[in-house]
Symmetry: C3
Subunit: 340 residues, 3 copies
């Protein structure tokens, strides 16, 4: 695509050579004359670095004489859009295989591709255009929507229903048994886990992440939510739409996370805790069972506290050496007074 | 089953319609007239909510005119027992497959079912009634007991021996190589890992959890212990019976956990640390290498401290603003005294 | 092997019976007369315990009359070397299988062994002597070096290139899509992830660990680095050589870890943070986005601080009860002074 075509695509203002042909993309410091790049004002240095890129998408205040620029409001978003256009279909890494084990009673929509050694159980339904990777597993009666992508070794139990355009990365598990125990005199018995999982549209579940089935009702992940690698979602969690969880986040059973909340990596949430809409939790935050975080707030630490309060606590501990010294001085002054 | 039959099963006192027929179960707020439910006194509201459930299992002090009740000592446990009776066999999600790859020298007990594309190595022994899921792996010479359930994609290396009724959830790995390194001048060499894993009866290992083999001796998980999803057990850990570990707990090498200990989610235990019997660790607790926690205690925080002590420390940090103000006041009073 | 042969192998001084034959190895307290063991000065007890071992590798200062000893500088390293010699080839737990699904355009070096139900995609290259485990996946165009070992169910996407002698443990995922999101008005869109993964020689990746592909450039893991189970490496991380990460460590996108750094279990590293060479991070350390830790330092806590500073902070919080009491005493003394 030419710089002009990309500028039109992202609704940006072109400055420079409209005709330069861009065949791929690269970071701004490494890009070559036939590559597109982007740049946005950073932390330390507000200068667009020297670049050989054929064209750079930048924000509207940027100037760089001699470089072909496309000015936009949000360079990163525009660049992402351009990338999707330049490379419209990421190459599929697996293809239809005769070695898959597909139940005769499973229903596959048009354009479904099933990889080698994948397994699709009795009565399962797989929607149009969905790709089922090698060694993936779809249990009996599971429902997978249209245009989903189940990466190699991902697993969907029969209790699960997935919406459209859901992506399960390699090794992800949907519908595994929840961790419900009943202590009986001197040992634990399992609390039967009979519910399912309901996953909306446009959800991503990271590699080796796990979403447990509900005990009686369903575990729910709302449309547009994105879960990173190695995330754990306990039984009966109710996750809203457009929620983001970074890698290794863990939710105990029955947690409620409202729309647009963002959980930093390794955050851990206790049973039946609630996280309000658009709340933001820093990495490694620990929220105690049954607690609620207000919508829109920023939180950090274990136990989770409003970010400002948490920073205040840390700063106060940092002041303790001076406080201890001050107390010693006061004691000396009192001693002096007492001696007189 | 009728309410009368369930009352007899759980040894409870029936109040109301003995003959109501219960075909399934649901949470108390959602249950329909042909569904069983349970309710126990909760945190905020001690009133049994309005329900359409055909029958509710409750504790002995509960009254609810017009609702068919079964009074018991432990409603949750009784409900679990009733569920197991109403739904005696959870549907198996995989069935015997010709596409499995079973060594001719493997020994399979009666009633063993092996899912599609599973692999069972030479000399492996799989006990009576055990279900081996699709894409599961049992290494050469591994021993798996009776009535185990190996979920899709779970893996048992040849160095492992599993007792009876062991459940490995999807993607769990038993017997992977431990993380033993020897620094040699300018690089790491592996310390050979030659031991195995011994898993008792009635153990559960969660989805994508990992139990490493011992270095020379064995890694041991005692009977009745329950490990949730994404747990990591390092080489040579000695885990007692009826130990519970919530999701994402991690144990370094050589950790000892005694019977009935409970580890909250994301707790991390350093090398060769010891956790006494029935000790309880809060979520995200970090226990330093070589430390020991006393039996029966409750612990929290990093480094792990007795819960009461940990809460005291947190409370004291919370009092610092008032303390700082008090010091300012004292300083002023001293100044006044000095001025006279 | 005889004690003499082992002493020669590890370049140690033999004291005792040169001819004793050693057929296996065990911990010093459990070893039998035909077993080799090792012992090094420990934390509590500097006495070599009573042992029946046929031969014990010890450090140069150790004396133990009546026991055959091999004196060396580093007993653990010498023992590891001896083990590798006594058991030169750990038994391979899988063997070549006709049920593997190997693309006709894949290129396999001499001595490659592919396990049951493994999948090797079009154009992939697998080097000499490499073992591909059951249900493992190698994507189209992936490059795997010589003498690698891909354990059961491990996955290498087509964007990845692995050096020689790389070990992927069961369920490990190399080249999964990174977690790059663009917020677009009211939902998230994926930032296209088009880079790859480059893994050097002699790297280990633990069971169910994940290494994401780069966004535009590559995610890099340098030669000799060792990643334990359930580790997460985000997109575009640049990990040096001989880096060690214990289990459940998580790195966000764009993190730089220099050579010989050591990260304790469950440490979490924020986006674009940097860890200097040979830095050591304690377990559960949390490093904030964009921060840098100096080379060679020891760090702990969240937020990460120099170890000594972190310990000082903890000690000061521990002194607060005494400080509060002191303030009460000072207040009383001031009151007394004021009353006069």
């Amino acid at each position: 695509m030419t710089a002009r075509q990309i500028a039109d695509l992202v609704d940006g203002e072109l400055i420079g050579s409209a005709g330069v042909d861009l065949v791929s993309a690269a970071p701004v410091r490494k890009a070559l004359p036939d590559q597109l790049s982007f740049w946005q004002r950073g932390h330390a240095n507000d200068q667009l670095p020297e670049t050989r890129a054929g064209c750079v998408i930048v924000d509207e205040r940027t100037q760089a004489p001699g470089i072909t620029l496309i000015l936009v409001h949000d360079p990163r978003r525009a660049f992402a859009k351009a990338l999707r256009a330049i490379f419209p279909c990421e190459a599929i890494e697996w293809s239809a295989a005769t070695s898959a084990d597909i139940s005769s009673s499973a229903s596959l929509g048009p354009g479904v591709s099933v990889g080698a050694h994948a397994v699709i159980g009795a009565g399962a339904a797989v929607g149009e255009g969905t790709l089922v990777g090698p060694n993936a597993f779809i249990g009996p009666s599971a429902v997978v929507g249209n245009n989903c992508r189940l990466h190699p070794g991902s697993k969907v139990y029969g209790n699960a229903r997935l919406g459209d355009r859901v992506v399960l990365h390699a090794g992800a598990v949907i519908g595994s048994q929840g961790f419900g125990l009943v202590f009986a005199d001197d040992h634990y018995e399992l609390f039967p886990q009979m519910g399912g999982v309901r996953i909306g549209d446009d959800v991503e579940v990271g590699a080796n992440a796990c979403v447990d089935r509900g005990t009686l009702g369903n575990t729910v992940v709302g449309s547009g939510s994105k879960l990173d690698n190695l995330v754990h979602i306990g039984h009966n969690c109710q996750i809203g739409s457009h929620v983001v969880m970074a890698a290794q986040v863990g939710l105990s059973g029955g947690v409620v996370v409202e729309d647009y909340a963002v959980l930093g990596g390794q955050a851990g949430i206790g049973e039946r805790a609630q996280i309000g809409a658009r709340a933001q939790l820093g990495g490694q935050t620990g929220l105690l069972p049954g607690k609620r975080l207000d919508a829109g707030g920023s939180y950090w630490g274990t136990p989770a506290r409003p970010l400002r309060e948490q920073l205040g606590r840390q700063a106060r501990v940092g002041r303790l050496p001076r406080i201890f010294a001050e107390i010693r001085r006061l004691r000396a002054r009192i001693g002096n007074l007492e001696d007189h």
